[in-house]
C-alpha cells in the first residue's frame, strides 16, 4: 500500500548529499579523501534538523491528535448494576380497585384488608403482587369510575351465592356474595376473602407466570418454582411472539391458484373486523397496513389434503411476494389462500380446520370458494379476519386467558418488563465490551444514549405496572440498542492492536530509517566534537 517511491527519493536526496561530501569508496585507501569542510557539516546538520523539526513539531502532534481514541465516560458500574438487576428489582404492583358500595365503610375496609392478607399468603413471587384498594364511593354511574392506574376493578354485590364473572368488555370482575358471608368486623378470616383471593390469583396466574419466567431467564432472580409444563407453555408463547417493536407492518394478501377471484372487499373487512382490535392495541403498538392480490399462485405443496408436515412448506417463499418490510417495521403476514385444499390430521379423522399460524411470521387461512366467483365479499372475509385478529394477539405475545381488556393490560405490563430487561441487558453488554476492549473508541453519542437509557430505565422501573412504564421502557430499549450497535464501534470490534503494526510499518518504516540514522550520526558527531574541544582545552591548560 505504501508508495514505494517515497523511500528511494528521500534516501537518494539524503544519501547523495552524503555521497558528495564523504569519501568515494571507488578511490582506494591510497588516496585519502579530503576532510569535509565545516560548511558541509553545518549544512548537513541543518538538513537533519529541518526534517526532525517537522517530525517533532508537526508530525507528533498530528499523530497524537488523529490517533488518540475518544472514549466518552460511560457509567460502567451503573450499567453493570442494571444488567445484574441490582439497580432495579422489577416488581409489578397491580392496583385493584374494590367497589363495595353496598357495604358499610368499615366493613368494606376490613374485607379489603383481610383479602389482601389472603392474597399475600398465597403469593410466593415478589416480582408481581396484587394490591387491593377500596375505591371511593361514588354515586355516579360506572363509566367514570375507572381509575387509569388500576388494572382491575372488583364489584362486590350482594346475591344468593358466591359467584365471580369477568366482564368481557371492561377490566372488571363482578363478584356476588351471600349477605352472611361478609366477615364480621373482628374476625380473622372468612370464606369470602379467601374466595376473592383465589379468584384474583387465577385471573392473574398466567401473567404472573410469564413475568416470573421473564425474570428467571435473566440472571436477576432464581426461577420461581414453575412446573415444567408451565415453562414449556411459556416457551411456546415466547417462540411464537414477535420481538417487540413499536410499529408492525400488517400485510393482508389474497392468493389464488387460478384466475379468480380478482377483487376482495378487504377495505371494509379490515375496517369492520380488524380496526376495533387495532384501536385497542393502539397504546402499545402502531400498525401500518397494506394489501395485495396475487393470481395463479402455486403453493409449495400441491396435495389435496395437507398434513402437518405440509403446513410448514405451504408458503412458496421463492415465488410469493411476501414480507416486503417497508420501512424498518417488522412485517406480519396474513394470507388468505383461495383453493380447494383442506387440512387433515391423521388423529382427528374427517375433521378439518382452515387456518394455521406460523410463529413469528403470520397466519394462513384456506378459504374455499367456487371458482366462478370473481369477488370475495365482506361476509366471506369475516371468519378469516376474526382468525387473523386472534392470531395477531398471539403473535404479539398477549396472554391467552382472561377478558380482552385484561389481556391487553397485562400485555403492556409484560412488554414493559421485557423491554426493561432487554435494555438492561444491552447496557450490560456495552459495559462489558468497553471494559474488555480498552482500545475501542466510544463516541459521545453513545454516552448520551446510555445516559438517556438509564434515565428512562429508572423512570420505567419506578412506574412499572403503570401506563408510562411501557413508554419509558421503550425509549430506554431503543437508546440502549442504538448505543450498542453504534456503527463506528462495530467496525473496531475486529481491529486488534497487532494490526496497527501492519498499518504503520509499511509506510513509516522506510521513512524512519534514514531519519533515525541521520539523527544518530549527527549526535555522534556532536559528542565527538565536544570531546575533542575538551581535549584541546586540556592540552592548552597543560601547556
Amino acid at each position: 500500500m505504501a508508495p514505494p517511491p517515497s523511500g528511494p527519493t528521500q534516501e537518494d536526496t539524503a544519501s547523495s548529499a552524503a555521497a558528495s561530501e564523504s569519501p568515494a569508496p571507488a578511490a582506494p585507501a591510497i588516496k585519502a579523501p579530503p576532510p569535509e569542510t565545516p560548511t558541509a557539516i553545518r549544512r548537513r546538520s541543518y538538513i537533519v534538523l529541518s526534517f526532525w523539526l517537522l517530525v517533532v513539531f508537526l508530525g507528533l502532534p498530528f499523530w497524537w491528535k488523529t490517533t488518540t481514541i475518544y472514549r466518552a465516560d460511560l457509567p460502567l458500574d451503573r450499567m453493570l448494576e442494571w444488567a445484574d438487576g441490582k439497580a432495579c428489582r422489577p416488581a409489578i404492583p397491580i392496583q385493584i380497585a374494590v367497589h363495595a358500595d353496598s357495604l358499610q365503610e368499615e366493613e368494606a375496609n376490613h374485607l379489603v384488608r383481610l383479602a389482601q392478607h389472603a392474597i399475600d399468603d398465597l403469593n410466593d413471587f415478589s416480582g408481581h403482587h396484587l394490591r387491593l384498594q377500596l375505591a371511593p364511593r361514588q354515586d355516579r354511574p360506572r363509566e367514570s369510575e375507572q381509575n387509569p392506574n388500576s388494572a382491575l376493578s372488583i364489584h362486590l354485590k350482594p346475591g344468593d351465592a358466591t359467584t365471580a364473572a369477568l366482564d368481557p368488555y371492561r377490566a372488571a370482575l363482578d363478584i356476588t356474595y351471600p349477605l352472611n358471608s361478609v366477615p364480621p368486623l373482628h374476625s380473622a378470616s372468612s370464606m369470602l376473602t379467601t374466595y376473592i383471593a383465589t379468584e384474583l390469583r387465577s385471573t392473574f396466574a398466567e401473567e404472573q407466570s410469564i413475568v416470573s419466567y421473564l425474570l428467571s431467564s435473566s440472571p436477576t432472580s432464581k426461577p420461581a418454582g414453575l412446573s415444567p409444563a408451565v415453562v414449556e407453555a411459556l416457551e411456546k408463547r415466547a417462540t411464537r411472539a414477535l420481538r417487540y417493536a413499536p410499529t408492525y407492518h400488517l400485510t393482508f394478501s389474497l392468493f389464488t391458484d387460478g384466475p379468480a377471484p380478482t377483487t376482495w372487499d378487504i377495505d371494509t373487512a379490515i375496517n369492520e373486523y380488524m380496526k376495533p382490535l387495532l384501536d385497542v392495541l393502539g397504546p402499545i403498538h402502531n400498525f401500518t397496513i397494506d394489501t395485495q392480490v396475487q393470481l395463479y399462485a402455486t403453493p409449495g405443496v400441491q396435495s389435496q389434503t395437507l398434513t402437518k408436515d405440509d403446513l410448514a412448506s405451504f408458503i412458496n417463499a421463492a415465488e410469493w411476494p411476501l414480507s416486503p418490510s417497508i420501512g424498518g417495521a417488522p412485517t406480519i403476514n396474513f394470507l388468505t389462500f383461495i383453493g380447494n385444499q383442506t387440512i387433515g390430521f391423521p388423529d382427528s379423522e374427517g375433521q378439518t380446520s382452515q387456518s394455521w399460524m406460523i410463529p413469528q411470521w403470520g397466519t394462513v387461512y384456506l378459504l374455499s370458494q367456487p371458482d366462478t366467483n370473481s369477488h370475495v365479499t365482506k361476509d366471506a372475509l369475516r371468519q378469516p379476519m376474526l382468525t387473523f385478529g386472534g392470531h395477531l394477539l398471539t403473535l404479539l405475545g398477549t396472554p391467552q386467558s382472561g377478558s380482552l381488556p385484561l389481556r391487553l393490560s397485562s400485555l403492556s405490563r409484560i412488554r414493559s418488563a421485557d423491554l426493561l430487561l432487554r435494555a438492561s441487558d444491552a447496557l450490560g453488554s456495552l459495559a462489558r465490551l468497553s471494559r474488555s476492549l480498552p482500545s475501542i473508541a466510544i463516541p459521545r453519542n453513545v454516552a448520551d444514549g446510555v445516559a438517556k437509557s438509564i434515565r428512562h430505565l429508572e423512570e420505567a422501573c419506578a412506574g412499572l405496572g403503570s401506563s408510562e412504564a411501557l413508554y419509558h421502557a421503550r425509549i430506554a430499549e431503543e437508546e440502549a440498542e442504538r448505543a450498542f450497535f453504534e456503527k463506528s464501534m462495530v467496525g473496531q470490534l475486529y481491529f486488534p492492536d497487532e494490526h496497527k503494526i501492519a498499518v504503520y510499518l509499511p509506510l513509516l518504516g522506510p521513512v524512519t530509517v534514514p531519519l533515525v540514522m541521520g539523527a544518530i550520526k549527527e549526535i555522534k558527531r556532536l559528542l565527538q566534537a565536544r570531546k575533542q574541544r575538551a581535549q584541546e582545552a586540556k592540552d592548552k591548560k597543560s601547556q
Partner: protein, 419 residues
C-alpha cells in the same frame, strides 16, 4: 535566439492546438473526461458545472462537483458563451500556454540554471537554448493534452513559471504576487515559497539587506496577496467562508476519491477509517518535508531546488495530473547540460513512456471493458510515479554531482558510488 525563431515556434504551437481543437471536435471533450488529465480539483467539466450554477445565481459549490477557486468563475463568465462562441475558451488556454513557454524562455535566457550567484557550473555552456526549451515545453504531448483537455492546472502552472521568471529577473514583488495566484488556485504552490524567496534574493542586483529581512518582506507580500484574493472570493461567494472547505478542504481531506495518476486515491480507498486522518496528515507532511531539506541542501542553486520540488509535488500531491508532470519536464529541460551526469535517463524515460501508453489502456480495461479491476490502473500509476521519481532523484543526483566536481576537480569523470 532570434525573434523570428521564437515567433515561428509559437505560431506552430498555436496552429497545432487550433487544429486539435477544431479539426477534431470530439477531442477536447474526450480529453476533458480522462482521469489522467482532469482531476476533481482541475477538471474543466466541473468548472462548467460551477459556472452554470454561478451564472444562475446559485452558490457554485452547492452541486458538490465544483472544487476550484471561486475567482475562476468570473473570469470564465467574462468569456462569451462557449456554446455559441466556441473559439474563446481555446484561445484563452492557448494564450496561457504561450505565456508559460515565454516564462520558460526568460528563465533560460537568464542562465540561472548554469550559473547562480553562489555556484557556477562548468557545464553551463552545454545546455539547450531557450528556443529548444520552449519548443520542448510547447510540443510536449502532456502539455498539449492538458491544454486541449482545458484543465485549470494550466493556470497554476503558468503562474508558477511566471513567478520563477520574475524571480530570476529580480522582481521579487511580481514573483510573490504570481506565487500567491498559483497558491490561491491550487494551494500546494505555497510550499515553493522558501526556494523562490532564496532565488529572488540571489538574483537581486544588490544583497545589501539580509536574507531574513528580505524573506520576511516577501512572506508578508504573499500573505497580503492571498488575503486579498481570499477576501475577494469571500465577497464573491455570498459572504461566507464555506468555499474554503469546498476547495482547499477537499484537497486536504481527499473527500473526492476519483482515480488520478497519483498515489493517494487508492491508498485512501483502502485505508481504515480510524487511521484516515492520521495518514492524511502524514501524506501532507511528507509532501512538505522536502521543502526545508532541499532548500538548505540546494541553497546555492535555488532554481534546481524549485525544479526538484515541482517533480516531487507532481508525484506526491493529492490530485496530480499529467499537467503537473509537464510543468516538471519544462523545468527539467533547463538542466539538459547535466544529462551526461544522469544515470537512469533511459530507464526513466522508458518507464514514463510505458506508463503513458499502458495507463489509458488499463483504465479502459477497468472502467469500460470490465475485464480488469482498480488494481490494474493503480499498478500503472505506480509505474508512472516510479518513472517520475527516478527522473527527480536522478536530476538531484546530477545537480549535486555537478557541485561536487567543482569542489573536487580531480574526481571529474570518475565513478562515484552512492552510499
Amino acid at each position: 535566439m532570434t525573434f523570428r525563431g521564437k515567433a515561428g515556434i509559437y505560431a506552430i504551437a498555436v496552429l497545432l492546438r487550433l487544429v486539435l481543437f477544431f479539426a477534431f471536435p470530439g477531442l477536447p471533450d474526450l480529453l476533458t473526461g480522462r482521469v489522467e488529465i482532469s482531476t476533481p480539483v482541475t477538471s474543466f467539466k466541473r468548472l462548467e458545472e460551477g459556472l452554470f450554477l454561478y451564472n444562475h445565481n446559485v452558490w457554485p459549490y452547492d452541486g458538490g462537483v465544483y472544487h476550484q477557486a471561486p475567482l475562476l468563475l468570473p473570469l470564465f463568465s467574462l468569456l462569451p458563451d462557449s456554446k455559441s462562441w466556441p473559439i474563446f475558451t481555446p484561445l484563452l488556454y492557448i494564450l496561457i500556454d504561450l505565456l508559460s513557454a515565454d516564462a520558460l524562455v526568460k528563465i533560460a535566457a537568464s542562465g540561472e540554471a548554469g550559473k547562480s550567484r553562489l555556484f557556477t557550473s562548468p557545464r553551463r555552456g552545454k545546455g539547450s537554448t531557450g528556443l529548444v526549451i520552449a519548443a520542448a515545453f510547447l510540443f510536449n504531448p502532456l502539455t498539449i493534452a492538458s491544454c486541449v483537455g482545458r484543465t485549470t492546472s494550466v493556470f497554476t502552472n503558468c503562474a508558477i513559471l511566471y513567478a520563477i521568471a520574475k524571480a530570476v529577473q529580480g522582481f521579487s514583488f511580481h514573483a510573490m504576487v504570481a506565487l500567491s495566484f498559483a497558491s490561491y488556485l491550487s494551494m500546494y504552490p505555497v510550499l515553493l515559497l522558501p526556494p523562490l524567496v532564496l532565488l529572488a534574493y540571489d538574483r537581486r542586483a544588490s544583497q545589501k539587506t539580509s536574507v531574513l529581512k528580505f524573506s520576511a518582506v516577501n512572506v508578508l507580500v504573499v500573505a497580503g496577496c492571498l488575503s486579498v484574493l481570499l477576501g475577494m472570493s469571500y465577497a464573491l461567494t455570498g459572504n461566507s467562508w464555506e468555499f474554503l472547505a469546498r476547495t482547499y478542504g477537499i484537497q486536504l481531506t481527499l473527500t473526492d476519491l476519483t482515480p488520478t495518476v497519483g498515489l493517494w486515491w487508492y491508498f485512501f480507498i483502502e485505508m481504515f477509517d480510524s487511521f484516515r486522518s492520521f495518514f492524511l496528515a502524514l501524506f501532507w507532511l511528507h509532501l512538505a518535508s522536502y521543502v526545508g531539506g532541499l532548500s538548505i541542501r540546494l541553497r546555492t542553486q535555488p532554481l534546481a531546488a524549485l525544479a526538484v520540488l515541482l517533480g516531487i509535488f507532481s508525484i506526491f500531491k493529492p490530485y496530480p495530473s499529467i499537467s503537473d508532470a509537464s510543468l516538471f519536464l519544462g523545468l527539467f529541460s533547463l538542466y539538459t547540460h547535466l544529462l551526461p551526469l544522469m544515470r537512469y535517463t533511459y530507464v526513466a524515460s522508458a518507464t514514463l513512456m510505458y506508463a503513458s501508453f499502458l495507463g489509458p489502456a488499463f483504465y479502459h480495461l477497468w472502467i469500460y471493458a470490465g475485464s480488469g479491476n482498480a488494481n490494474f490502473f493503480y499498478a500503472i500509476t505506480l509505474v508512472w510515479s516510479l518513472g517520475q521519481s527516478l527522473l527527480v532523484s536522478d536530476l538531484t543526483f546530477a545537480v549535486l554531482r555537478d557541485e561536487w566536481e567543482v569542489e573536487r576537480p580531480e574526481m571529474v569523470g570518475k565513478e562515484a558510488k552512492q552510499i
